[in-house]
Structure formats: structure tokens, C-alpha cells
């Protein structure tokens, strides 16, 4: 286990190197986090290279959300190091702001701003954080709304859209900040089955564009199709990671086998 986590890119690096660079996007070393006395994340080591697509899986409560929320400092880690895009996450607000500009996040429950139109949702951060002129921000927003295939909804409010459409807006909203890394926390698990596909398609397209992605998801089809690496977490630790084919066909750890039999079994 420790061997895998200290040499995280080993297996995946050789498999499909075409879209991968040698640049490190995220480097996590010996990171620990506690909620009060509860040790949620234990000695996490993870290196993500630019352009890499990683799927994080694991049973409920294993700390998947906590891990990716640490990467943009929605949660604070207590020991170890997280370096994103060459900037270390400390309590220095300037660094946190810099990192948040480079890292987009998509939530399970979309978290769109219900008092703003779709277009305003997408232009708000570019205008106020990146200081992009409004005209330009709107053009960018329309570009990404077209990319997620809902430009015609631009002037509606989030409450008037379906769940799948809202999630695609949420993706477009993150993309408008031109992030170099995208984090997804179970983006499809609040959606009805027929809407899951439209969101996954959007994510697949994003992956083909070369975005560095970390996805917490139970969509194993998606993992097989786009992931360079699948990470399996349990009890706050990285238990196993491997390229998707190997991970699904030839899991090593007992926990992984049990987990896979549960989610793929029926």
C-alpha cells in the first residue's frame, strides 16, 4: 500500500502517455487531516501530473470529498504538504486566492447562485476576481455555455432548469475562470438516470480537451473510458491505485475487491 502511494504515477504513466506532460499539477505529501479527534485523512501521498485524469472511488465516509476539498482549501489540512501549481497551500490568504483561481470545482448539488441568471452565474467570478471586462466575460461565458450545449438558457434562472442542465451550467461556470485543474465531487449522484449521461458526456469532452481532472464518482463506465488512474480510498487512506483496466480486472487488495463486487455486482 505504501509503495503504491509513494509512487503514484507508476502504473498509469506508462499506459497512455500521449496527453500527459511531466509537469506536476498537484503534489500532496504525507498529508493528514482531523475533524476534531476524528482522523479523516491519513498520510495521503499523491502526485497529479498536468493533463492527468484521476477518478477517486471508495465507500461512503472514506474521505473522498474531504481529500479533494483540501486541494482548494475548502477544508484545512493539519499536517503534511499540498502544493498546487507550484504554490503551497498554507494559511496565507494570498496563496489560497491564487490557487482557487487555478482550480475549478463542481459540487454534487450544483450550488448555482439562484438569484443570478445563468449568464450572470458564469460571468460573476471572471468579472470580480479576474477583473475581466464584462463584454469579454459574457463572450467567454457564452462560449462555454455552447460547449455544454445550453446557450439558449443563458437568461433563465437556475431554478428554471433541470438538474442535468444545472450541473452543466456549474461546469461552465467553473470553466469560465479558465482553471488549469478541475475537481468534481460526485457530480452525477444527485441526478436522475437520464440526466447522468448528458453531464458525463460534458466531462468526457472536457477530458479530451486535456483538462487536469480529479473526479470523485461511482460511474465506473466513465472511469474506464477516460481515467488515467483510479484511486481507491477507504478509512481515510489511499488503499490502491492503478490504471482502470488493471484496477477493475485485477484488483489487488481485499477491500478493493469487496468494494468492486458491491458496486459492479448488481
Amino acid at each position: 500500500m505504501s509503495e503504491l502511494s509513494t509512487n503514484p504515477t507508476g502504473a498509469a504513466g506508462t499506459a497512455d502517455p500521449t496527453h500527459l506532460t511531466d509537469q506536476v499539477a498537484i503534489q500532496i505529501t504525507n498529508m493528514n487531516k482531523w475533524y476534531g479527534a476524528f482522523h479523516v485523512l491519513r498520510d495521503i501521498n499523491l502526485t497529479v501530473r498536468e493533463g492527468e485524469r484521476i477518478v477517486i472511488a471508495g465507500p461512503s465516509g472514506s474521505g473522498k470529498s474531504t481529500l479533494i476539498r483540501c486541494i482548494n482549501r475548502l477544508e484545512e489540512h493539519q499536517s503534511g504538504q499540498i502544493v498546487v501549481d507550484g504554490i503551497e497551500l498554507t494559511s496565507d490568504l494570498k496563496n489560497i486566492d491564487k490557487i482557487r483561481r487555478e482550480v475549478g470545482m463542481v459540487f454534487q448539488h450544483f450550488n448555482l447562485f439562484p438569484h443570478l441568471t445563468i449568464l450572470e452565474n458564469c460571468t460573476l467570478a471572471p468579472i470580480w476576481v479576474r477583473k475581466v471586462p464584462r463584454r469579454e466575460a459574457e463572450e467567454t461565458a457564452m462560449h462555454f455555455l455552447e460547449k455544454v450545449k445550453i446557450p439558449e438558457q443563458a437568461n433563465k434562472y437556475p431554478g428554471q432548469l433541470s438538474g442535468g442542465q444545472q450541473q452543466r451550467v456549474a461546469i461552465a461556470r467553473s470553466l469560465c475562470m479558465k482553471p488549469r485543474i478541475m475537481l468534481f465531487d460526485e457530480p452525477t449522484s444527485a441526478l436522475d438516470p437520464e440526466m447522468i449521461k448528458e453531464v458525463l458526456d460534458t466531462m468526457i469532452e472536457l477530458a479530451h480537451d486535456g483538462m487536469t481532472m480529479l473526479c470523485v464518482t461511482h460511474e465506473m463506465g466513465f472511469a474506464r473510458q477516460v481515467a488515467d488512474r483510479v484511486i481507491f480510498m477507504d478509512q481515510g487512506q489511499i488503499v490502491e491505485q492503478n490504471e482502470p483496466e488493471e484496477f477493475f480486472n485485477n484488483p489487488q487488495s481485499e477491500r478493493t475487491k469487496l468494494f468492486l463486487s458491491q458496486i459492479l455486482g448488481h
Binding site: R100, F107, N111, L112, F113, W128
Partner: protein, 438 residues
């Protein structure tokens, strides 16, 4: 057709039914009356009872309202006129007292040749508030909104024009400090520097500078003593100040109460709980009596100004709790989304959190506004002549001794107009801000 498929299990509809108008009993006025007034025997009895109550009230009230006197100069003359016009034994309203005293009820003892000043201030108030209340009003009026507090105060109290300008300059200097320091140091340093600059200006520099200007360019309105203020003018003055001041102050207190900084949080909680735990009347007594004890002798700290500050603080404490309710109703995901997009605390508050929290709190906010406006009548207890205080003064005039209903009715009507407008505006606002379900 329905007979043919009744026996078989398989059924395919071959003609679609067209849409039909509902039967008259399900729509239209008859249906409305039936469902709203006469649905079931209990509902019917209640309807009839209510109609009876309304009917008998009107039978008593309308003649009293209509069979009235508008021209008399004393209560006795009123009664005589009514008996003369409508016959022995009739009682009616004596509106003459309102006709004679309405200017006093509006302006108090403000010098009558200067009535134009508060009137102009009131008209300007409408223009200053309009761009805040209605989106379609030209934005340029916001400049008036910014200078209005100083312009209005100058019109009301008179005196040299340099005093309000000096006070305004304090804010200008504070703003410039923020612009200047903010780009070089952090936001907190800039805020502290701005406060220091403003206070130094107001306390030490403003006095001599204002005097200098006054001597070289004397430009003044005839000063009016605070003692002369009264009537609805006073209610509106105190009410509007408290309303305008309590919302921003309440928002800051609510945010402070949620702060991670222990000292800020404790201060805000302490302030809110203290003010809410003390009756407004006590605060007003503090303003009118106790402050004199604490202030250095010889300081002339205007009584109306003191009352305005107290009422504002009082309203702000309640406002803070109303706003906190709105903040608590927001899902945590909104904060997280704002954080994840890189918005800093103040931008997130201004652009994401407050617009939603305030929208949720509109009913509570407007209730607090209405409450504050009505509470301004309490100032009569410390001797200020608000409409209620004036009504006592009017009734102690021998000519009008014994007039009760007409005066209180008129005052109630005026308050009702103001409060009801606020209430309607809040409903308009809620409807306007409706953005889909959720």
C-alpha cells in the same frame, strides 16, 4: 365507443379528447363565492356573522364620520353646529380641530415662515430614496442619495452650510484613505486608517476649518432650534434616520456575530443582547438625561441627534437578528461555491450571500422598519413633541379640551398610510425578486 373497449383488456385510444371549458360551478364569480364564502355550514355561519359585524360597525361609524363639523373653532361650537345641522341628540366628528391644527401636527412648532424647508427636505427625500427602491429610476439620482443626509440636515436645522459640508468631507477623506492605503496595505489596515482619519478630522480639524470658511464666505440658513421640531416631521426625521441607519449596521452586526474572530463576535453578541434586553424607553431616558451627566459640561449634544442615535442602535440590534435568520437559511453550498470561485469574504458577502439572505429576510426587515417607525411615538415620553405629544398639547388647550377620537384617528390614519405603504412595497419587492422555484 366506451362500451366497446370496456370488456377487453387491450385498449388503444384512437381519438384524443379536445380541451373543454370548465363548468360554471368550477370557475367564475359564482364558484369563487361558493368556495370562499359558503363552503359548508360552518363557513357559511362565519360569513354571515362577519357580514353582520361589518354592517353594524358601519351603521354606527359612517354617520359619525359624515355628520361632522369642519368649521368650528372649539369643541363646544362643534357640538352646537352638529346639533343645529343634523338635529337634537346627534353626535358627529369634530374635524375642525384637524383643520385648525394640521400644520402643527405636521411641523410641530417649526417657524411657519420656514415651513418650506422641511417640505423641500421631504420632497428631496423622496427623490433620494427613489433610486434605492425602484430599479427604473435614473441612477444619477444616487448622487443626491449620497449627499442627502447632509443636505436634509442643513435644511432642517439651518445654520452655516460649511458644517454639513465639513461633516461630509470626513466621509470623503475616509474614502480617499481607503483608496490610497487599500492599494498599499491590507483591507483591515485601510479600514482602521480611514476611521482614524475621519475621527481626527471631525474632532480636531473640522471646527477651525469650518469657522474659517464661515468667516470668509458666510452662507447660512436661519438656524432652527431642535426644541421647535415636532409632529410628523419629527416622526419621519427619526424614523427615516433609524431605518436608513439600522439596516447597514444590522448587517454588520449579523456578520460580526458569525465571525470567527472571538473578540468581534463577543462584542456583537454583547451589543445585540444588551440592546434587545432593554426597553426602548430606557434607552431614550439615557439619551435625554443620563448622557448629560457623562458628557463634559458645556457640550451641546443635540437632543434629537441623541434620540436618533439611540433609536438607530435599538433598531439595528433587532435588524441584526432578522438578517442572521436569513443568513442561517442559506445552504452552506453557496459559501463553498463562492469560495471555490475565488471570491474573497467581502465580495462573497456582497454578491452572493447578502442578496439572498436579505431577500429571505424582507418580511422581517420591513416588520422591523414598521415597528421602528411606530416606536418613534415613544419620544413623547421624554418631552419631544411627536404627533402624540402634540395631541396632548392640543387637548390641553381649553377650546379643544375633550377631543379624543378625531385627533387619534387622524394620527392613526397617517401612521397607517406610511406603514401600509412599506408593507405593500415589501410585497412588491418579494414578487420582483422571485426567480423560479427553490
Amino acid at each position: 365507443m366506451s362500451g366497446t373497449h370496456a370488456e377487453t383488456v387491450r385498449y388503444v385510444r384512437d381519438t384524443m379528447l379536445p380541451e373543454q371549458a370548465p363548468p360554471l360551478s368550477a370557475a367564475g364569480p359564482i364558484a369563487w363565492v361558493r368556495t370562499n364564502l359558503f363552503a359548508g355550514w360552518f363557513n357559511t355561519i362565519m360569513t354571515l356573522l362577519s357580514l353582520a359585524v361589518i354592517f353594524f360597525t358601519l351603521v354606527e361609524l359612517v354617520p359619525w364620520l359624515v355628520q361632522s363639523s369642519w368649521t368650528a373653532t372649539s369643541l363646544n361650537e362643534c357640538r352646537a353646529q352638529i346639533v343645529e345641522m343634523y338635529g337634537e341628540g346627534t353626535t358627529g366628528a369634530c374635524w375642525a380641530v384637524i383643520r385648525e391644527r394640521y400644520l402643527q401636527l405636521i411641523y410641530g412648532f417649526y417657524p411657519s415662515e420656514l415651513y418650506w424647508r422641511p417640505s423641500l427636505a421631504f420632497v428631496l427625500l423622496i427623490f433620494a430614496v427613489a433610486p434605492i427602491l425602484f430599479e427604473r429610476v435614473p441612477r444619477a439620482l444616487l448622487y443626491l442619495t449620497v449627499i442627502y443626509p447632509f443636505l436634509g440636515a442643513w435644511l432642517m436645522w439651518g445654520g452655516t452650510v460649511w458644517l454639513p459640508i465639513g461633516a461630509f468631507m470626513g466621509f470623503v477623506f475616509a474614502y480617499l484613505t481607503i483608496r490610497f492605503v487599500g492599494t498599499r496595505a491590507g483591507a483591515i489596515v485601510a479600514a482602521i486608517a480611514a476611521v482614524v482619519v475621519a475621527i481626527v478630522w471631525w474632532l480636531f480639524l473640522m471646527g477651525p476649518v469650518v469657522q474659517e470658511f464661515e468667516q470668509s464666505i458666510p452662507l447660512a440658513l436661519e438656524p432652527v432650534e431642535s426644541r421647535a421640531f415636532g409632529g410628523f416631521m419629527l416622526s419621519i426625521l427619526i424614523g427615516v434616520t433609524a431605518i436608513a441607519g439600522s439596516l447597514p449596521l444590522g448587517i454588520l452586526l449579523a456578520l460580526g456575530r458569525q465571525s470567527d474572530l472571538f473578540i468581534v463576535k463577543s462584542l456583537c453578541v454583547g451589543f445585540i443582547e444588551f440592546i434587545r434586553g432593554v426597553p426602548l424607553i430606557t434607552l431614550l431616558f439615557v439619551a435625554s438625561v443620563l448622557l448629560n451627566v457623562f458628557l463634559p459640561p458645556g457640550t451641546n449634544f443635540d437632543i434629537i441627534l441623541r434620540v436618533m442615535i439611540m433609536v438607530t442602535l435599538f433598531a439595528a440590534a433587532y435588524m441584526a437578528e432578522v438578517v442572521r435568520g436569513g443568513l442561517a437559511a442559506l445552504p452552506k453550498g453557496q459559501y463553498e461555491a463562492a469560495d471555490a470561485l475565488g471570491l474573497d469574504y467581502w465580495k462573497a458577502q456582497r454578491l452572493i450571500i447578502m442578496p439572498q439572505a436579505l431577500k429571505i429576510s424582507i418580511p422581517g426587515i420591513v416588520s422591523t422598519f414598521i415597528g421602528v417607525f411606530k416606536d418613534t411615538t415613544l419620544v413623547s415620553i421624554i418631552g419631544l413633541l411627536d404627533p402624540l405629544g402634540l395631541s396632548n398639547a392640543i387637548r390641553s388647550d381649553t377650546a379643544w379640551n375633550g377631543v379624543v377620537w378625531e385627533l387619534y384617528g387622524f394620527i392613526a390614519l397617517m401612521f397607517f398610510i406610511f406603514c401600509f405603504s412599506m408593507s405593500r412595497y415589501s410585497m412588491y419587492l418579494e414578487r420582483k425578486l422571485q426567480t423560479g422555484h427553490r
